[in-house]
Subunit: 128 residues, 2 copies
Amino acid sequence: MAAATLKNIQKCPTSYVLAIQDTLNAFQGKWKMPIIGTLLFGKKRFKEIEREIPKITPRMLSQELKDLEMNGIISRTVYATSPVTVEYELTKSGKQLSKVVEAMLEWGLQHRRANMLELLPILQSKTA
Amino acid sequence: MAAATLKNIQKCPTSYVLAIQDTLNAFQGKWKMPIIGTLLFGKKRFKEIEREIPKITPRMLSQELKDLEMNGIISRTVYATSPVTVEYELTKSGKQLSKVVEAMLEWGLQHRRANMLELLPILQSKTA
DNA sequence: CGGCATCCGAATCGATACTG
DNA sequence: CAGTATCGATTCGGATGCCG
């Protein structure tokens, strides 16, 4: 199959848009990408993830993990210890997201530097 | 400066999470990535974008374009024709997002194929 | 430890109608 | 053409408390 480069789909921008939205749905919201991000470093337990993601509540973490599992991005394993231990791990699909995450990360750093220099004390209001 | 690879920040997952969330904020929501996507092919006018993105309303398009402009991702040019013509174009920062978009696109296609085969008639309920 | 249930305000977003 | 204004439905997401 041909690679999914921009040039290949230039002919039909709309179908291209649909593909992006499709992808977007898999990890939309405030928390999914950060969760995936922490799991790229390996298996983690519920509490570990919670600790690494500032301000996430158990409610949201639980909800998002369930969502990600349903979408085939992570897998959940329960160990019958006492108290129970649960480990979350990226699936193969999930691991392939590292490409996306790295791209986002790299752009984020560049973009931030660019904005610091040129414009935008506007961000202040969002940071606060 | 060292490249922003995952390995480089493994030491501090939390700061890494913050960087991702930061990036995420720049194009969160249902429409921003698709808008950026269509603009990767070149300058476009309001109506052109609207036509290429299924189901977007003028309200949302207007709002998101404004947001993207404030974030330094696109630029807006008004031509004093009659009726007025407005063109939107990616800035340098915006163009650099192509890396992210392509990564998302590629993953989306792979992931879709994988899910078709293995699991998930669940998506049906979301597609409907 | 790893959650779930409930409540509730805030933010998002779609539909529709209108304007310079 | 390129938007804006208003309304209302839906969803998101934080706080809190409880459970096996």
